[in-house]
């Protein structure tokens, strides 16, 4: 189970696949998700690869599937939720699927086109009806004016004539014409103006708006239309009017010349509209049926096509061997999974009915394999936040298992509130308990997905915050008095005058009976009422931050020994690790010791003349301070000793490793027998290759071994190494100081959180509680609601994210730069479940 600590051991393997069973074998491997394929044809473009035709077919099928899914989505049909996982179809079944898809596409296309045509038709008839109805009103309006008309002898008008103009113009011998139709409302004014300018008053335009919205056939949106009626006389005017109507995209309909004709047309239209409605309904029903039937199997097809395409991509990565009978693939595979790989290949061969089985062969390599760290649903969150900084180098110590505890702990030190911790833990517990709920898993909301992926991290953070909330004794900014305070006010014995005349009174722990002993767990609740609370807490939290920081950093330095031991670079232990540790502990470890000593050795009685640690620490470096009272006997001597050791460890750190390596390489005739053997027996290159691979497997890096003259790239460059080590030394020594100070953010953020919490209570909740009128009760209800909302949004979300970020930074920079390389490549296995689907991306699935 060294996987989480260090990463799996990987090897490069060659798969020999028979041509007939290659497809099935790769399908098996895709289901398992064991191996990562390497590209054996890197110089070939995508279009020159072998299986490009099959991939084109797959993409054609995906296109049809996309069209189907869009139609299904438009018709608001919900896809059946299912957990099917169909295997990739064999090449012989692909034709059947392709046929079905093409048939569906053609059918759908036809039905949709028909439907559109019918709808257009319906729209025209509806418009015609509106037009007839509204122009009748024009007629009735003008008809009202009839009785007012003076009767001229020359122009006796017929009783039944509806258009007065018509008759008079007829007498004049001019031809009166009508054009009627519909136009969009936004265009009517421009239309009118154009008509007036062009026809110069030889036309009369009357229009009225249609009450209901009609659907615009081009855009599909409902628009307002206007019915117009143009009466003109003269043919040329008529043509001009027609041209203008065309220009403005009017829908023109024939105008009935008499009332009977109008009624007939209206009747005919009504029946036609009814028929059309029936036909349209039937068409829509049919379309829906087709789509529902398609939607049942579309999900299966999508997965099958995705898998097929992936398999062909992988087949393109393989190359043929000399005999052209079998396919060779190179994969990265974890060593422990090679039996599983063998079984998968056997299974694939059996399924395809091949006589000759495919097999796997492990080959040695000098390339660095990718890093694989197997995680479960709990550890994957923590591994993700470590990988976000950098994926670990191959077989390097992985900080993730330690991060599981230290990260929530450092977060909780900065967050430290019992009430907020409870809310956070409850929220995370709800997410964890409902983690199998499909709706929660598959939402597309990015922010929710981020929180959901980190639900175990948030749960740990909440639980640890409950713990630190108990230690800080802070619950929504109020302290809980669980065990009874250790301070007694009565024992001070103040008189009534003192009570009434003094604004602040000091509890002196030196008076008997005032301080009865420390509070069993955490900070005494009486500090919540004290005016010098912050002075006390600041000192406590600052020292605690420094202590935690030094412990965290020392742990990081100690972890580097794991790497040195694993990669067989034992000299690093003495030349790098030891000076680093000594430097850190002699200076800052001593500071921690002084803090702890002062806490233990000095009590309230000595508080007046307790020494300041800061002054002592500074004097340690300046080698001064004989005038100060020592903390303990022998302090000066010890301090000088520690400073000398720390100062001496710097040149060792700076020069030790380069000098040693230089001596190693240039005094190579002094090397051991093993290397001598290698030099003598280097006739077969393969043996040398295998020997190096053997070293590789055992975990030793061969870059610093003697090159034995074979590889000129293994030259040792002293200047390069010295520069490297100088940079490392400066970085480390300066980093020790700055990183220690950086840990003070633990104090700063916890102070900020506590103060924000207190301000929120004082400004919101206290206002509600202090209301002593009868209405005060009702006021408390919305005040609490406001308090709750502000707590969640400011204190939980904002402060939580802030503390998360700072804890993460402390891990990434201050902790990991003591030992972590982070320059590896992540292992991406070929697995169908990990492949993204382009439909999900478009929101269609």
């Amino acid at each position: 189970m060294s996987s989480l600590l260090r990463g799996e051991e990987m090897c490069l393997a060659q798969l020999f696949l028979q041509s007939g069973s290659a497809y099935d074998c790769i399908s098996e491997l895709g289901e398992l998700g064991l191996v990562e394929f390497r590209d054996l044809n890197p110089s070939v473009t995508a279009f020159q690869r072998k299986h490009v035709n099959e991939i084109k077919k797959c993409e054609e099928m995906e296109r049809i599937l996309g069209y189907l899914l869009r139609e299904v989505k438009k018709a608001d049909i919900s896809l059946p939720e299912r957990d099917v996982n169909p295997v990739a179809p064999l090449p012989k079944h692909v034709m059947a699927i392709m046929e079905q898809l093409q048939r569906l596409e053609v059918e759908l296309g036809e039905v949709t086109r028909n439907k559109e045509k019918l709808q257009r038709n319906l729209l025209e008839l509806t418009e015609y009806t509106h037009m007839l109805r509204i122009t009748r009103k024009f007629v009735q309006r003008t008809a009202e004016r009839e009785p007012l008309q003076v009767q001229y002898e020359e122009f006796p008008f017929l009783e039944k004539e509806t258009m007065m103009d018509y008759s008079s113009m007829q007498r004049l011998g001019a031809k009166l014409g009508f054009i009627s139709g519909l136009i969009q409302r936004v265009k009517i004014e421009a239309f009118e103006r154009m008509l007036w300018r062009v026809c110069k008053g030889y036309t009369i335009l009357s229009y009225a708006e249609v009450e209901e919205y009609l659907e615009n056939p081009d855009t599909g949106e409902p628009t307002k239309c206007v019915v117009f009626l143009i009466s003109y006389w003269g043919d040329q005017i008529g043509q001009k009017v027609k041209k203008i109507c065309d220009c403005y995209h009017c829908h023109v309909y024939p105008y009935p010349s008499s009332n009977e004709e109008r009624n007939d047309v209206v009747e005919g239209l009504r029946t036609r509209i009814q028929d059309l409605h029936t036909v349209l309904n039937r068409t829509e029903d049919y379309l829906r049926q087709v789509l529902i039937k398609a939607s049942e199997s579309v999900y299966t097809w999508v997965i099958q096509v995705k898998k097929m395409k992936a398999i062909y991509y992988i087949l393109n990565l393989c190359s043929f061997d000399v005999t052209n009978k079998c396919l060779i693939a190179e994969v990265w595979c974890p060593v422990n999974d090679i039996p599983t790989l063998r079984r998968a290949l056997e299974e694939g061969s059996r399924k395809s009915g091949a006589t000759v089985p495919s097999f796997v062969n492990r080959i040695p390599t000098s390339d660095t394999p990718p890093t694989l760290i197997k995680t479960n649903k709990f550890t994957s969150g923590f591994q993700n936040i470590v990988d976000a900084y950098g994926v670990g180098s191959y077989r390097e110590v992985n900080p993730a298992p330690f991060t599981i505890i230290t990260f929530p702990f450092l977060f909780a030190v900065m967050f430290g509130d019992l009430g907020h911790g409870v809310i956070m833990a409850v929220f995370a517990a709800w997410m964890v308990l409902c983690e199998n709920n499909r709706k929660l898993k598959n939402t597309r909301n990015e922010i929710w997905n981020t929180f959901f992926e980190g639900r175990y991290i948030i749960l740990m953070m909440g639980l640890f915050s409950i713990y630190t909330g108990l230690i800080y004794n802070d619950c929504f900014s109020k302290s809980l008095n669980i065990f009874g305070s250790g301070w007694s006010v009565k024992a001070m014995g103040w008189t009534k005058e003192q009570w009434e005349n003094n604004r602040f009174l000091t509890l002196d722990p030196n008076v008997t009976g005032v301080f009865k002993g420390p509070y069993p767990l955490g900070i005494d609740p009486i500090w919540n009422l004290a005016s010098n609370r912050l002075t006390f807490l600041n000192s406590y939290k600052m020292k605690m931050s420094v202590i935690l920081g030094i412990i965290h950093m020392s742990f990081g330095v100690i972890l580097s020994t794991y790497n040195y031991l694993h990669f067989r670079k034992k000299y690093n232990l003495y030349l790098v690790f030891l000076p680093e540790l000594l430097f850190l502990l002699c200076l800052f470890g001593y500071l921690v010791f002084m803090i702890l000593y002062k806490w233990l050795a000095f009590s309230a009685k000595d508080s007046r003349h307790a020494p300041s640690i800061l002054i002592h620490f500074i004097n340690m470096f300046l080698m001064q301070g004989d005038g100060l009272q020592p903390l303990y006997p022998g302090q000066t001597g010890l301090q000088i000793f520690l400073v000398v050791i720390a100062v001496l460890s710097v040149p060792v750190l700076l020069l030790g490793k380069p000098v040693y390596l230089y001596w190693l390489h240039n005094g190579s005739h002094r090397l051991g027998l093993y290397r001598g053997y290698e030099r003598v027996r280097r006739n077969s290159e393969e043996e040398l290759y295998l020997m190096r691979a053997h070293d590789m497997e055992e975990g030793s890096s061969h870059s610093d071994l003697s090159s034995s003259g074979e590889n000129p790239t293994e030259e040792f460059d002293f200047a390069d190494e010295l520069l490297h080590q100088a940079i490392h030394t400066i970085e480390y020594c300066l980093g020790c100081v700055s990183n220690t100070a950086s840990y003070l953010r633990l104090w700063a953020l916890s102070l900020a959180h506590a103060q924000l919490s207190e301000v929120l209570w004082a400004m919101v909740m206290r206002v509600g509680l202090r209301m002593d009128s009868t209405l005060g009760v009702l006021f408390l209800v919305p005040v609490f609601g406001l308090f709750a909302v502000l707590t969640v949004s400011i204190l939980l979300v904002m402060e939580g994210l802030s503390a998360f970020l700072h804890a993460l930074r402390l891990h990434w920079v201050e902790f990991q730069n003591k030992f972590y390389g982070g320059t590896g490549v992540k292992f991406c296995p070929f697995a169908f479940s990990l492949l993204p689907s382009s439909f999900e991306h478009d929101g269609l699935l």
Binding site: S78, I423, F476, K478, S479, N481, E500, P525, N528, L529, A762, M765, R766, L769, R770, M771, D772, G776, V777, L778, L780, V781, F784, G785, A788, V789
Partner: protein, 101 residues
């Protein structure tokens, strides 16, 4: 009869969460006020007059404590009602969702 549904599913869920939190927290506050906890002294609406002009030394303050405690309990009771209303809204929302699809 107009629909009794007046808020969406998310608002109703928020209502339930705040109600549960309100009931628990206000009930505990009420208990702590009734237990005359010293930490909550700043939240009690006392004046100088209450302290100086008191016949029985902490009598007035204790009375005020009790009053605020009772206020808290009443507010907790109101939150129970709010919670019940939110629960109804959640159920109505679920029923509507079920009926539409």
């Amino acid at each position: 009869m107009p629909s009794l549904l007046f808020c969406g599913p998310k608002m109703a869920a928020c209502g339930i969460v705040i109600s549960i939190w309100g009931v628990i927290m206000l009930a505990m506050l009420g208990i702590f006020f009734s237990a005359k906890s010293a930490v909550l002294i700043e939240d009690v609406p006392f004046t100088e007059e209450d302290i100086r002009g008191d016949q029985n030394p902490p009598g007035n303050i204790y009375g005020l404590y009790n009053q605020v405690g009772i206020n808290c309990f009443i507010a907790a009771g109101i939150y129970v009602a709010v919670g019940a209303v939110s629960l109804c809204q959640v159920r109505l929302n679920k029923r509507q969702e079920y009926m539409v699809t």
